[in-house]
């Protein structure tokens, strides 16, 4: 791994497994011998609201928060959330990895407004380097809707230089035995999806 700190900003909606995603990723980085920091918010903010985590690893990490414009990867499990947190992405060198699945915010499900239709146009302007991963759609296909996060992890892994065995170990330790196989499959599926 390079000496520079790698910054990964993870975004989504409460219930999408963002914290689990981040925990698995941090475990991989720690087992690879790096200094790792992660920051997240619990409590009231979590009840169906936007959920984000900051993951940072490298030789020595000070701040648990990623400075704006310096995320090497912005991973978003939801379409609108990618736009909301785009300021964290390094627009030149960073990459947006996102799912286009859409979850209605309160103003939308209470019929006060509609879900924005121009998200792709905005992302084209805001994040030139981006790859969309239909993780939720594929999680439904493999009849495991909760595996969206692990599919996204598989997609992200193709851009990092950690050995696959580290992810496999993290998944084995991170899930109950009966869920390990399906999540290992989801991880591999994510890698395939990232290759397009």
């Amino acid at each position: 791994m390079p000496q520079k700190t790698t910054n990964i900003f993870v975004a989504g909606v409460g219930g999408q497994g963002i914290l689990k995603f981040s925990n698995l990723l941090c475990e991989v980085a720690m087992r690879a011998g790096l200094d790792v920091k992660k920051s997240e918010i619990h409590g009231m903010a979590q009840r169906g609201g936007s959920v984000t985590t900051h993951v940072r690893f490298g030789k020595k990490v000070y701040s648990p928060l990623i400075p704006q414009g310096s995320a090497d990867f912005l991973v978003s499990m939801e379409h609108l959330e990618a736009v909301r947190h785009i300021a964290f992405l390094d627009r030149e060198k960073g990459r947006l990895i996102y799912d286009t699945c859409e979850i209605d915010p309160p103003e939308v499900y209470t019929a006060q407004r509609t879900y924005p239709k121009d998200i792709e146009e905005r992302l084209a302007r805001l994040a030139p380097n981006r790859i969309s991963v239909p993780a939720f759609e594929n999680a439904l296909k493999i009849k495991n809707p909760r595996a969206q996060n692990v599919i996204m992890l598989g997609a992200l892994s193709t851009y990092l230089s950690f050995d696959d065995s580290l992810y496999e170990e993290a998944i084995k330790r991170g899930f109950k035995e009966k869920y390990v196989d399906s999540n290992l499959k989801a991880f591999l599926l994510g890698k395939e999806l990232a290759k397009g």
């Binding site: 475990e27 920051s39 619990h42 009231m44 400075p67």
Partner: protein, 585 residues
């Protein structure tokens, strides 16, 4: 030695365990909750959810009097509840180490204010340690036990959200087994009659002088050599932000901010031309440094409101504003009551009864938000009942019927009721207040992630125990009108609430059903809307359930099966009977 990836909260628990801690007591509150949850994984430590923070503090103090190493933990405002015994304990001191962990919440991610609890250390004359990452959370907790016993004083370990809920790599050690010293009567120390307290205050001032010496020599306060003429004094997580954005500066890294190591401040001042103080919230260090006659730049540059981050610190130090990015309009995604939440029907009914609704602290505070709009006030734990009583007594003084005849309803959660609602209820009965108290009994402390309480029937350590019923408590307190209803039975709940608010005496309605996230066994198959029967009236949408949405094109409501828990409340409020249970359920 092994390495673990721990949150600051978990690291405090690990530190307490390594330090041989015998007892830990707390009441849940973000961002401190996970401290006791992590302590509960170590069988060597007796731990409990106390009914409130004052109780928890006194439990820990009692254990310390008996010579045990004891840990108190709470969120910042929890220490307000425990402030009375906390101040006394500074005089009394500690026989067994007494460590007071406060987790502050700059930015109020899940709190009603962003008070700076470092002031508590200064006000009560207690040392304050401020760790900057999980390793320090563990190390400082251990050190705090040593300081507490060596200097006969409780010690504050002050976390913030970004230390509590940030994970980093921690090198862990084994537990030191330290015997409990045992209890001996010592009234000159443990009984603070004025005649003893006067001596104890003098002794506390001496203890603080000794602690000042310690602060000058401990390596958790250290000057870090830099390359140019700028020095930064920083504590807690703010240190990591400053180090990130200005690695070449000189630093005075403060692990112990009170008493302040003045010689080290002077040492830094002698090396640099300019000093910045980078600290979150209030200018605690800054005021102390300025009082020494040393010039520094603080709150005129470093924001006092909301938490710091690398970008805000960079702006303060270099006047560099973060780039503004035009994302276009992004609809907000605030927290909301969950699908199937048992609070929703109660608020839906109350908002239609046109009463004044005094609220309290918990998930149900979200009932204040649209579309329910069913809350007028929220102050602190337990204030729903007492504020309702105060409003009632004030309106009684007004002749105008519009004011005088207003109905006042207090809404309080079950855990909050046991925390500090009971004394308010006794007061309302004693002082004859015709208010209605709705106890939102979902059997658990839901907001903070499902912690046990006296109504749950289980302790933090997993033991079965007496289950205290809120309705029985109300009857024992002399409330004559008590209902227990199932909030998911809309008609039953509406009838009870309607009758309760019509009475001229205190009335209690307990809306009792387990939080659906806590007890998923009650989940049923998703409901569905028959579009041929739906007339697009949006009454169901007015429940604010994330599982119900309205299709602007077809002008029909729909239920999202992935989110629906099958609570049936939308079907009960639909005037057309257009919402149905799945057939095979």
């Amino acid at each position: 030695m092994n390495k673990k990836f721990l949150s600051g909260d978990e690291a405090v628990a690990q530190g307490a365990w390594e330090a041989g801690c015998h007892l830990a007591a707390s009441y849940p509150g973000t961002p401190a909750t996970e401290i006791l949850e992590a302590v509960a994984t170590y069988p060597e430590i007796y731990c409990e959810w106390s009914t409130n923070e004052k109780v928890a503090y006194e439990v820990a103090l009692g254990a310390s009097m008996a010579g045990a190493r004891a840990l108190y933990a709470s969120k910042h405002v929890g220490l307000n509840v425990a402030a009375d015994p906390f101040f006394s304990s500074a005089y009394i001191g500690s026989k067994g180490g007494l460590v007071v962990v406060t987790a502050d919440d700059p930015s109020m991610h899940s709190s009603q204010n962003e008070q700076d609890n470092r002031y508590y250390g200064i006000a009560a004359k207690v040392p304050v340690l401020c760790p900057s990452d999980s390793q320090e959370c563990k190390d400082f907790t251990k050190l705090a036990f040593e300081i507490s016993e060596r200097f006969n004083v409780p010690v504050i370990v002050r976390l913030t959200t970004r230390t509590s809920h940030a994970n980093s790599v921690v090198e862990c050690d084994d537990r030191a087994e330290i015997p409990v010293k045992g209890y001996e009567k010592n009234i000159a120390k443990n009984l603070i009659l004025p005649m003893f307290a006067r001596k104890l205050h003098a002794s506390l001032e001496e203890r603080m002088l000794a602690l000042k010496e310690f602060s000058e020599t401990t390596d958790i306060n250290r000057v870090e050599k830099g390359e140019d003429g700028v020095g930064i004094i920083a504590d807690g997580v703010a240190y990591t932000y400053a180090k990130e954005v200005y690695p070449s500066a000189w630093f005075l890294k403060l692990g112990m901010i009170h008493p302040l190591p003045e010689a080290k401040v002077r040492e830094l001042a002698s090396k640099v031309k300019k000093i910045y103080i980078v600290e979150e919230n209030d200018p605690v260090i800054e005021q102390a440094v300025k009082a020494m006659g040393i010039g520094c730049i603080g709150k005129e540059k470093v924001p006092r409101v909301l938490e710091l981050n690398p970008d805000r610190v960079r702006q303060a130090l270099f006047d560099e504003e973060p780039a503004k990015i035009d994302t276009g309009d992004v609809p907000a995604r605030p927290p909301a009551l969950c699908p199937g939440c048992t609070h929703r029907p109660v608020f839906h009914i109350l908002s239609r009864l046109k009463t004044v609704i005094t609220g309290d602290i918990g998930c149900y505070t979200l009932g204040a938000l649209p579309p329910l709009n069913a809350m007028d006030t929220c102050v602190d734990m337990g204030a729903s009942i007492t504020v309702a009583h105060g409003i009632r007594k004030a309106l009684d003084k007004i002749e105008d019927a519009k004011q005088k005849d207003k109905k006042i309803v207090a809404v309080i959660g079950d855990s909050t009721f046991f925390h500090s609602g009971m004394t308010g209820l006794v007061n309302a009965v004693y002082n004859s207040s015709p208010i209605t108290i709705v106890i939102m009994d979902n059997r658990i402390t839901a907001m903070t992630g499902h912690q046990q309480h006296p109504g749950t029937g289980k302790t933090l350590m997993g033991k079965e125990t007496t289950q205290i019923e809120a309705a029985e408590v109300a009857r024992a307190f002399g409330v004559k009108h008590v209902w227990v209803v199932d909030p998911n039975n809309y008609k039953e709940t509406k009838e009870a609430l309607t009758e309760a608010v019509s009475l001229d005496e205190p009335a209690v309605v307990v809306a009792s059903r387990a939080c659906p996230l806590y007890d998923r066994s009650q989940w049923k198959k998703p409901y569905w809307v028959n579009p041929d029967e739906c007339n697009g009236c949006k009454i169901c949408v007015g429940l604010g359930c994330p599982a119900i949405s309205f299709d602007a094109e077809t002008k029909k409501a729909k239920v999202m099966p992935v989110l629906c828990t099958g609570c049936s409340v939308c079907a009960q409020v639909c005037p057309k009977g257009a919402i149905h249970a799945s057939e095979n359920d």
